[in-house]
Symmetry: D2
Subunit: 267 residues, 4 copies
């Protein structure tokens, strides 16, 4: 947040991978990040860099706030449900599992191999900084109030996020597996980096490792009238630098997939 | 199911680790396991071996059906909420993560190191065999109808189950973190193998590895009026053979903790 | 060995990834593989596909036997020492560590995650099939008799081979670290896929994961007058299909690095 | 080294897990540890706590220097060969593989899960601090000069050391597999924590995880007249605190196995 204004003044386009300009409500941001924002006047000028939502704005932007890793996987999973007003947006649950690289490369005891391997745990159970970003994005896309219980987990692996999303179908709506499948397939039909899996197939993080793809499945559970969406990405690619490159491509009129067509490396 | 009757006839007490006698409704069992039950007349005589619920019955039983791994972790987590009528029992969610040992030792491609390591995925998304066992147990304990969305996941580790449980508070109820903490602590105060963690502490599967303990935390999320319970066990110990030994101890009037006091081996 | 002759007859060039034509001595091959060779008359026509040794022959070949994974890493490590007559070729030791993918994708109990993770062990301690291939290659390159103690190990990871090679300096020779470093750097100066690390740097398998590169370090231990060479490759790339593609490129007059310039994916 | 004298003065018996008193030659110690020894006059009074060598001295000692992790596994593997004058002691090789817990619990970037998992590498290639301790121990036990090339490796796992030891048979000696097997079995027949595996069986670190046992196999390679010994231990138990307890038991006249009979926890 200290570097953006000088760069923009110098005529440089900025794609910011940090969390500094993702949240439009500066008070909310300051509450979650617990510091004073250095440059609040720029916040309204930041375009939120989720191409599947904001592609047109990104094309003409000169300043992009790239989404966080959890927010990317979770928004892509919930969006078709909310845009079609199918689920009760006040009772969303996102149970997300991340590899340890999500914590960065800091030399911290919790992320030592001997501490993190062969174990799974939740963290941020009472609150996590990505929650307001997710809610803001879903609210903007769907125009409804969002009630979200988001619980991130640390899984014993390096890369990958799997978000398991639960949404109760609205009382007055009737849905079927076939409808849901069509809605998701249609929503992402022209998206180069979102793949809706066929009914009966489910994502695994290994299948997107090293790639910029997000794999999504949608399942209707008629026993509880609940939709279960699974969304998998590589947190370091579609959840971070790959998405930044995707934004750059869109921003500069390049082929959106340029440099991003690598397939997953198993494993 | 083929061996139990002859053993009982010979005066041998039976502690059955299989799934054959866990479900009282034989039609339901046959539907989920897709075979004909060989010995339905014995099902009503099987005592469900969850000592935290059925200790008195176990003491005098001569035939025990030991609970499954997921059902143990999930029931222990939901029970205090349901027994106290705090949550809407029709909208429960159990997002469970298991190590690969849950699949047994079969030589199956999916469980090869090269396939299962460094990846997380869901399975049984549309339905899993442990679901009716969980619902039956919760229904019996709480006397209410259970609506449960249970999604198991395969985590890249050997041992351990972490169940993340979500339950919406009933409309007419008011709860606080302090109340929930007390309710859980009271419920399990005299249980040797269930440890309710202090508020702000959360379980990790490594902390119960090789031990018969189940670690539980309870968190009230006031932003969504939802209770989040985390329940961790070693699926091979409290979720299987350790629990069988615990049943044996109770059944034979031995010290309930005999042979089960080993602490976790990290990791 | 059943398919090659018909393919050659049809004018198709063959690059064989199997072990069928790697060993020129058919009796030796039959002894190690314990079957009758189906096509011994073709063995003399197979060019051994190690481009760092046989590039000129590969250019004009129509039938290539691609080296095994261990033989590639071990030969590349020993070659500069033997070609320069620096070490006692009768007392070579190769202690090699391989990821589990070296065993292929067979559903075998030993390679289950629960069996292979968090453990290291040796195998083939009395004898391993790759030993005659390594000895043949070193003998041909250096024109001396080879005495090799080769012990492979299974390491708890998916990809990668690290070969730690020990060779006693010949009695009558004097070597220094600087000389060794120069000899190795000169030997591989124009090789696109062998990188000799600077003195004081040592390979790790993660640094070559997914790439066709072999990283090599050479260290002189003056306390025991022994040379220690470390050689790391991805067993599935330079140790297998990547090397096959490299052969294809050479064979067809393509750029040798075509399709093989991907860098390592960490991890 | 600062605490021992005051403790001894107070009549307290000391079992020191640090490296401060393992090496009798203070100049050598200072060279390898690169600090001034604070208490050199105590060094000669430290009994080296390898019960398989020094049990009688330990019984009456009041000050024990517990061996390091690598030195324990490596000495136990070489001792029967050297005590029986079977191998050329000037040309020993120890290729050791350790889990990451050998590095302690320091928050260091190299030992982060994301850095250390799914990779293997050597370290201390030019020199490692445990080398003089190993040479001293072997020299004392066998009364011969020791030439050892010791190369430690970091394997992607938490616990365990596997040492692969290579020793050329002396020119004038003839050995057979059967002789070697007998020599090893006899040497450790009455040792509670060293298990010589049957011919054709080989150790894996998983089999000793959490236990105080060291598993050893011995193999004669007639093709190179070399003996290959494999020695596996849990570096945190027989290689550290378990061995300290074993010393305590011997020192205080307790049952040597007291508190140490736990079997391995797989995995």
């Amino acid at each position: 947040m200290h570097s953006v204004q000088p760069l923009l003044d110098a005529g440089v386009k900025v794609i910011d991978l940090s969390a500094d300009f993702r949240i439009q409500d500066v008070a909310l941001w300051e509450q979650w990040y617990n510091i004073k924002h250095a440059c609040p006047e720029l916040i309204p000028h930041a375009v939120y860099g989720l191409p599947e939502v904001n592609r047109e704005q990104i094309k003409t932007a000169n300043f992009i706030a790239v989404p966080g890793c959890y927010p990317t996987a979770i928004q892509l999973g919930f969006l078709p449900l909310l845009e079609n007003d199918l689920v009760d947006s006040s009772r969303l649950i996102a149970d997300a599992k991340s590899g340890v690289s999500g914590a960065g490369r800091k030399a911290v005891e919790d992320y030592l191999l001997c501490e993190a391997t062969e174990s799974i745990k939740a963290y941020g159970v009472t609150a996590h900084r990505h929650q307001p970003e997710i809610c803001q994005g879903l609210h903007r896309a769907a125009g409804v109030e969002i009630g979200l219980t988001f619980i991130p987990h640390l899984a014993p692996m390096v890369r990958g996020i799997l978000a398991t999303l639960y949404a109760p179908v609205k009382n007055e709506r009737n849905v079927t597996q076939e409808q849901l499948q069509s809605i998701f397939e249609d929503r992402y039909a022209s998206e180069p980096f979102v793949e809706v899996l066929s009914a009966g197939e489910f994502p695994a993080t290994r299948n997107v490792k090293g790639s910029n793809r997000c794999e999504i499945s949608v399942t209707y559970r008629d026993d509880t009238d609940t939709v279960v969406v699974l969304s998998a990405e590589d947190n370091l690619v579609k959840g971070a630098s790959g998405q930044a490159i995707q934004n750059m491509n869109v921003m500069f009129g390049l082929e959106e997939t340029a440099g991003l067509e690598g397939i997953a490396l198993l494993p």
